[in-house]
């Protein structure tokens, strides 16, 4: 399975445009704020999205993702700040003139039209000749596997089928930019994976800029060129999936994507190429192989992913390796992985993952064993917030 899913950052088409200062962004948000009464839904966001990017917005419910998309589509005007599309200020451009299609979180399918008519609606508005409409509609209908349902009205469809109609309706126009608000949430895993591929194919073939909202981190990791993690109307971090996962900039981001162990501590020694952190929670001094921007004695946090830790029955040889001691508290068997919960001597619980390379019957480390939990100095990341 793992080989079948290409990781977004591996893909050739995604030139890392955001690292090239000569590149003009396709969408530019300048200090965009949106208030509903006293409530700030989007809080001073500045963001550049480049042509042909597959950009994901990730964040908890109510953090302002939909509001951000609605501003891009033109349904909401920013309270302050500017939105530029291809260098042009969008504030005066009404939604029906923007080269943007949005897939609504609520689908917003026309109840009086059948699936076919719903999908054809946008093409009709552009005056596309009807034979072409027919072929293009049929094409997307088969892409989302709705052939048998083409003549049905939306209320005769299941939730997942409706979602696919909404997706097809936004895809069929092949606009310059597609805004997809949780496009695959109601689909089963197989169909979702398939549709993810289809979306990536479309993106590669047509160069459409995608901005997608998702609650599924795996999906975000799979499809995105970059991910923005949001909280309370702000963007906390914008980076490639790898960076977001490996080098989160805060505990919030580290916690939001995947499992992580976080140890609070104080800076004991801060050099250019390493830092030592005295941590009571870990019960040891932690060594990290990168300098940080913090004074001695400052409180910092060390984040270590479960799969980057090892457990051993013996103490490690290398004195630089971070090492904690504890007792196996619980083991969860997930098939390919086993999840170990280890209670450190300091009282902190640590989660670590181990691939099941050997058969479980031969498991060397088991419940209540006293173990050494180790990780390399370059495996963790020191967080300042």
């Amino acid at each position: 399975m793992m080989t079948a899913i290409p990781s977004g950052n591996n893909r050739q088409t995604t030139v890392e445009a955001w690292k090239d200062p000569s590149q003009e962004p396709y969408i530019r948000l300048e200090n965009v704020t949106k208030k509903f009464g006293d409530f700030t839904a989007v809080d001073n966001i500045s963001l550049d999205i480049f042509k042909s990017e597959f950009f994901s917005l990730l964040g908890p419910s109510g953090c302002g993702k939909t509001t951000l998309l609605r501003m891009l589509a033109g349904f909401e005007q920013p309270t302050s700040g500017r939105i530029l599309l291809d260098g042009e200020d969008m504030s005066k451009v009404p939604p029906y003139l923007r080269p943007v299609n949005m897939m609504f979180q609520s689908y917003a399918l026309f109840p009086h039209m059948n699936v076919e008519k719903n999908i054809a609606f946008g093409l009709k508005q552009d005056g596309v000749p009807s034979p072409e409409i027919k072929t293009r509609v049929d094409e997307v209908i088969s892409m989302v596997q709705l052939e048998q349902f083409a003549k049905r009205k939306p209320h005769q469809l299941s939730g997942g089928q409706r979602q696919r109609v909404a997706l097809a309706r936004s895809l069929v126009k092949k606009p310059k930019m597609l805004l997809l608000d949780e496009p695959l949430g109601a689909l089963d895993k197989k169909l979702r994976t398939r549709t993810q591929f289809e979306l990536m194919n479309i993106q590669e073939e047509t160069g459409i800029t995608f901005v997608i909202v998702t609650h599924d981190q795996e999906e975000a990791m799979t499809v995105s060129s970059r991910i923005a993690v949001m909280d309370h109307g702000r963007i906390i971090q914008t980076a490639t999936p790898t960076e977001i996962y490996e080098v989160p900039n805060s505990r919030y981001v580290a916690n939001f994507l995947g499992e992580v162990n976080i140890f609070e501590g104080r800076v004991a020694e801060n050099a250019r190429d390493h830092v030592l952190i005295q941590s009571q929670e870990a019960g040891c001094t932690i060594r990290a192989d990168h300098g940080i921007d913090a004074a001695d004695g400052a409180t910092v946090w060390v984040a270590v992913r479960p799969e980057k830790m090892y457990i051993n029955l013996e103490a490690p040889d290398d004195p630089n390796t971070n090492c904690m001691t504890g007792q196996v508290w619980d083991i969860g068997y997930l098939g390919n992985l086993s999840i170990y919960h280890i209670k450190l001597d300091s009282g902190t619980m640590v989660t670590m993952a181990r691939t099941n390379k050997e058969r479980v019957v031969e498991r060397k480390i088991t419940w209540d064993d006293r173990v050494y939990v180790t990780w390399a100095p370059d495996a963790g990341v020191v967080l300042l917030s």
Binding site: F75, P94, F104, A108, F121, Q125, K153
Partner: protein, 375 residues
């Protein structure tokens, strides 16, 4: 014939006995038909009730037939589903069917100088010579033929239908923007706007129509306003013309148009218009391709609610219309109160009802279809 005492004792007894009774009654076809009644087989119910009613009304000795009818309805009510169905049917029977059947009966009578001023339909006569009693049934269809003979009636019907259709259409034109505006208004104003639409009902209908006389007459408010602003030099003649009738109908029935329209428009999801705009559809076009089709049920309901009473309208053409404004309501009134010809005026009423039944049935069919589509 069902023994009424048996039913009553059955009704008093426990449900078990009622169920037993129900089982036995199911052997009797009319009861079985009624018990198997599904919602809206209107034709069959009408026919059945019609026959029963005629018998009961015409032969005073046959009042138990009423009881039978009640028993059958109650029997329908005993079956679980029937209870729900029986109530609207009982309502229909009491307040629609009974008066209609009375009118229908009179329409087949002959005018007479009596109280009431028509001949009875059924009479039990005693023939002295052969010493036998016989039942005389006299159905006089001349009243209906008479309606065809005199142009007045046909013209009244046609003119009523025309005035009602035109004013229904105009009411729709006026009512739709009002309903649309109400739906688009900020939420906190909507209740108030709704109140304002209903508010005129708090004054007597008659007084409101009289008020229009004051507005529309030659030296009325409208002419005064138009002349003082210099838009016209001569006062307009509006009162006692068809125009005044249109104004009166539109004004009086506007709430019946606005309320169903408001109800359907309010249900409409605003994001549909956003979706249309997103797909490149100009808002004006989106109104035609999205809003209007989705508000069709409201349009149909509103049109029926205006059209049906407008056809039979009497007060408005009488007070605001002129002598050349003929509407069936006025004709009927004249027939009934001036000529005291109850049978002919009843025939006028029956034909009017038949003319209206057609759109009502069409409307119900449509709603049924809609309900089926929803399911």
């Amino acid at each position: 014939m069902v023994d009424s005492t048996q039913f009553i004792s059955g009704a008093i007894a426990q449900t078990g006995r009622i169920a037993g009774l129900h089982a036995r009654l199911m052997l009797i076809p009319p009861y079985r038909w009624l018990a198997n009644l599904r919602p809206l087989p209107i034709g069959r119910t009408l026919l059945f009730a019609l026959i029963l009613f005629f018998a009961a009304w015409s032969l005073p000795g046959l009042w138990p037939l009423w009881l039978v009818l009640a028993i059958l309805l109650a029997g329908v009510a005993v079956t679980g589903r029937g209870a729900v169905i029986a109530l609207p049917y009982a309502w229909l029977l009491a307040f629609f069917l009974s008066p209609f059947l009375i009118v229908l009966k009179i329409s087949f009578a002959e005018i007479a100088s009596a109280i009431p001023p028509y001949t009875p339909l059924f009479e039990i006569l005693w023939d002295m010579e052969i010493e036998e009693a016989y039942l005389s049934v006299k159905l006089n269809i001349y009243n209906y033929l008479f309606l065809l003979e005199d142009d007045l009636y046909i013209n009244s019907y046609l003119s009523s239908l025309q005035i009602a259709s035109v004013s229904t259409f105009l009411t729709l034109l006026v009512g739709y923007p009002i309903a649309y505006g109400m739906v688009r208004a900020p939420v906190q104003y909507r209740t108030m706007l709704l109140m304002m639409v209903i508010l005129p009902f708090w004054t007597s209908f008659l007084i409101r129509v009289y008020a229009w006389i004051g507005i529309l007459k030659k030296e009325g408010l409208l002419n005064l306003a138009l002349m003082s602003t210099g838009i016209i030099d001569e006062p307009l003649t509006i009162l006692n013309t068809d125009t005044a009738v249109y104004i009166g109908i539109i004004y009086s029935y506007l709430p019946f148009m606005v309320l169903p329209l408001y109800a359907t428009l309010e249900k409409m999801d605003e994001s549909l218009l956003e979706a249309a705009a997103d797909l490149g559809c100009h808002p004006l076009k989106a109104f035609w391709v999205v809003t209007l089709p989705l508000s069709l049920p409201g349009i149909v309901a509103g049109c029926f609610l205006v059209f049906i009473p407008a056809v039979g309208e009497f007060v408005i053409p009488d007070l605001l219309g002129g002598s050349e404004t003929i509407m069936i309501g006025k004709t009927l009134w004249a027939e009934f109160f001036n000529n005291r010809d109850w049978p002919v005026s009843s025939a006028v009423a029956v034909i009017l009802l038949l003319l209206l039944i057609v759109p009502i049935v069409a409307f119900q069919r449509m709603q049924e279809n809609n309900a089926k589509k929803e399911a």
